[in-house]
C-alpha cells in the first residue's frame, strides 16, 4: 500500500506539490494526468525516492520514505519497477543483460536469473532479440525491455513516467496491454501520462494534478487534456 500524507515538495521558492494526500491500494491501476509542469513527475520521483518531500509523510509498504537513509534506497527500489519515457537502458548491455542486471543486484543465483529473464522476455515478446544492444532496437522494443526489467523481480508496484511519450499510437497500445497484463497478476501500476486517448480507451482510477495539487480523483475517470488546456 502507498500512502501520501500532507506531502509538499518545494524547489527553491516554488511549490511543485502542495499538501498531497493519496492512498493507493495493492493491485490498483492508477493514472496520474495533468498538464506539463503540474507536478506529475515530481510525484513519481517521490515514489522511488529520487527526491525527498519538503514536508509530509510517504509510506510504501514497510518503507517510510521520508525518514529513509540513503543507504537503504536500493532496497526500496528493488521492490518497485520503474519505467521511464526515455527507457533508461544501459547502452553497453544487451537486452538480456539489461533485464538480468536488475536481478543480479539482488544477488540471485545465475540459474534462477537465466530462467526468469527468458520468461519475462517471452512475456514482452523480445526473446528473439535478447542479444541485441539497445541502439539496435526500435523505441517500442526498448520500452518493452525497460518493462521487462521493471517486472523481472516480481515487484508489488510498477511506476511508469510517461512510458508512451516517445511512441506512436499503435506501439503505445501494445505497451499499455503489457502494463494491464502485469496489473491483472496483482501488481499495482502507477502511470503518469499525457496521453488522453489511451486514458479514455482504457479507463482506470485517475487522479489529475494541476499546479501541484490533486484536483480530481475518480474511478474510471475520463481525461480531456486538449479541451481543458487549449
Amino acid at each position: 500500500m502507498i500512502q501520501f500524507i500532507n506531502v509538499s515538495k518545494k524547489y527553491n521558492r516554488t511549490y511543485a506539490l502542495r499538501e498531497i494526500n493519496l492512498r493507493i491500494e495493492p493491485g490498483e491501476f492508477l493514472y496520474i494526468v495533468g498538464p506539463s509542469g503540474a507536478g506529475k513527475s515530481t510525484l513519481i520521483k517521490l515514489l522511488y525516492r529520487q527526491i525527498r518531500p519538503t514536508s509530509g509523510l510517504i509510506r510504501i509498504n514497510k518503507f517510510n520514505l521520508t525518514k529513509m537513509k540513503n543507504r537503504n534506497v536500493p532496497y526500496l527500489r528493488r521492490e518497485l519497477g520503474v519505467v521511464f519515457q526515455d527507457f533508461k537502458l544501459l547502452p553497453r548491455l544487451t537486452t538480456y543483460e539489461n533485464v538480468a542486471y536488475a536481478m543480479e543486484v539482488t544477488e540471485k543465483r545465475p540459474t534462477i536469473i537465466r530462467n526468469r529473464v527468458m520468461d519475462v522476455l517471452n512475456l514482452v515478446g523480445l526473446a528473439s532479440k535478447s542479444r541485441r544492444f539497445p541502439d539496435e532496437l526500435s523505441g517500442g522494443e526498448q520500452q518493452r525491455v525497460a518493462i521487462a526489467r521493471a517486472i523481472v523481480n516480481r515487484p508489488k508496484i510498477v511506476i511508469a513516467d510517461e512510458p508512451t511519450g516517445n511512441l506512436d499510437p499503435q506501439t503505445s497500445a501494445e505497451i499499455i496491454n503489457i502494463f494491464e497484463n502485469v496489473n491483472r497478476q496483482g501488481t499495482s501500476v502507477i502511470m503518469a501520462t499525457h496521453n488522453s486517448e489511451m486514458v479514455n480507451q482504457r479507463p482506470h482510477r485517475l487522479i489529475e494534478v494541476v499546479q501541484g495539487q490533486i484536483v480530481r480523483d475518480e474511478n474510471k475517470g475520463a481525461y480531456h487534456h486538449a479541451a481543458i488546456y487549449r
Binding site: 522511488y48 527500489r77 520503474v82 542486471y101 543486484v105
Partner: protein, 295 residues
C-alpha cells in the same frame, strides 16, 4: 559477498573493458606512457643512488702509524680507534701490503722500494658508519698517540659528499614529483572514462544496485587498466636496462663500480610498476565515481 557475485563482478569488469573500446585503449595508453616515464626515471634514480653510495663508501680514513711502533702499541691504537664514535671497522694494512697496492696501481718500477727501503708506513684503514662522519673521525684520530697522519682525501671528499647529497635530494624530489604526475595523469584519464558513464551509474542506482555493487566492476576495471598499462613499460624497461647493463659493465667495473644487477633490480622495478599501475587504476576509479554515487 557470494562467490557467484564475485565471479559476476570479475566478468562484468572484463566485459566493460572490452565494450568500452577506444575509451579503454585511451586509459591503458595513458597508464603505459606514465609508467614508462616513471620506470625510466626510477631506474635512473636508483642507480644514481647506488653509484653515489658506492663512491662515498670508497672514502676511508687512512691512519698512518708512527714508524717503530710495537705490535702491542699498534693493538692499543686499534682498540682506541674502534672506540671512537661512528667508527664501523678498522682494518690493518702493513707497509709491505701498502707497497703492493702502489705497485699494482703505478707499475713494477716501485718494486725497488721493497724490503728495508720501503718508505711507507703501516696503516689502519678506518671506515665509518656513515660516509659524512669521515671528517670528524679523521680529526679525532689525529689526536691519538702513535698516529703520524690521519687523512680522508681532504677537500675533494668534502666536495664529493656535497655533490652526492645534492644529487640524492634532487633525485628523490623528482621521483616524488613524477609519482604525483603519474597519479594525476592516470586518475584523470580514468575520471574521463567514468564521466562518460555517469548516466549508466544513475541507471544502476535506479534498478536497486547498492553503491558497493556498482563500485566493484569499476574498481576491477581500473585495476585491469593499470595492469594492462604496465605490460609494455615492463617489457621496454627490462630489455632496455639489460642492454644498458651489458654495454656499461666493462667500463664501470674497471673503476670498481657497477649498475644494479638486472635480475633482482628489474624484479623489484617491475613489481613496483605493476603495483603503482593497479593501485592508481583501481583507486582512481573509486575516487572518480564517488560523486556519482550520491542519491
Amino acid at each position: 559477498m557470494r562467490l557467484f557475485t564475485v565471479k559476476r563482478h570479475i566478468k562484468d569488469s572484463f566485459r566493460s573493458l572490452k565494450r568500452n573500446g577506444w575509451m579503454s585503449v585511451a586509459s591503458v595508453s595513458a597508464v603505459t606512457v606514465t609508467l614508462l616515464l616513471l620506470g625510466i626515471f626510477l631506474a635512473l634514480v636508483l642507480n644514481v643512488n647506488k653509484l653515489s653510495s658506492e663512491i662515498e663508501n670508497d672514502v676511508h680514513v687512512r691512519v698512518l702509524i708512527d714508524r717503530g711502533t710495537t705490535k702491542s702499541q699498534k693493538q692499543h691504537l686499534k682498540t682506541e680507534l674502534k672506540e671512537l664514535k661512528d667508527v664501523a671497522t678498522v682494518q690493518y694494512s702493513s707497509k709491505t701490503n701498502e707497497l703492493k697496492k702502489v705497485v699494482g696501481h703505478y707499475g713494477s718500477s716501485f718494486q725497488m722500494f721493497s724490503g728495508d727501503d720501503n718508505p711507507l708506513n703501516d696503516v689502519f684503514i678506518v671506515s665509518t658508519t656513515e660516509p659524512e662522519k669521515t671528517i670528524t673521525v679523521t680529526q679525532q684520530a689525529r689526536k691519538l698517540k702513535y698516529v703520524t697522519i690521519a687523512s680522508y682525501g681532504g677537500t675533494q671528499a668534502k666536495q664529493l659528499f656535497k655533490v652526492m647529497h645534492t644529487i640524492r635530494q634532487w633525485a628523490t624530489g623528482f621521483t616524488i614529483l613524477l609519482l604525483f604526475v603519474a597519479v594525476f595523469l592516470i586518475s584523470n584519464t580514468i575520471r574521463i572514462t567514468i564521466l562518460s558513464r555517469r548516466d549508466e551509474i544513475g541507471i544502476m542506482r535506479l534498478v536497486g544496485a547498492t553503491n558497493a555493487y556498482i563500485r566493484w566492476p569499476f574498481f576491477l576495471e581500473g585495476a585491469w587498466t593499470g595492469l594492462l598499462g604496465s605490460i609494455l613499460p615492463i617489457i621496454a624497461l627490462d630489455f632496455g636496462y639489460s642492454w644498458l647493463y651489458r654495454i656499461t659493465a666493462v667500463q664501470l667495473t674497471s673503476f670498481g663500480y657497477s649498475l644494479a644487477e638486472p635480475r633482482y633490480f628489474l624484479f623489484v622495478l617491475n613489481l613496483l610498476m605493476i603495483i603503482v599501475g593497479v593501485l592508481i587504476g583501481a583507486v582512481g576509479a573509486l575516487i572518480s565515481m564517488r560523486r556519482f554515487l550520491k542519491v
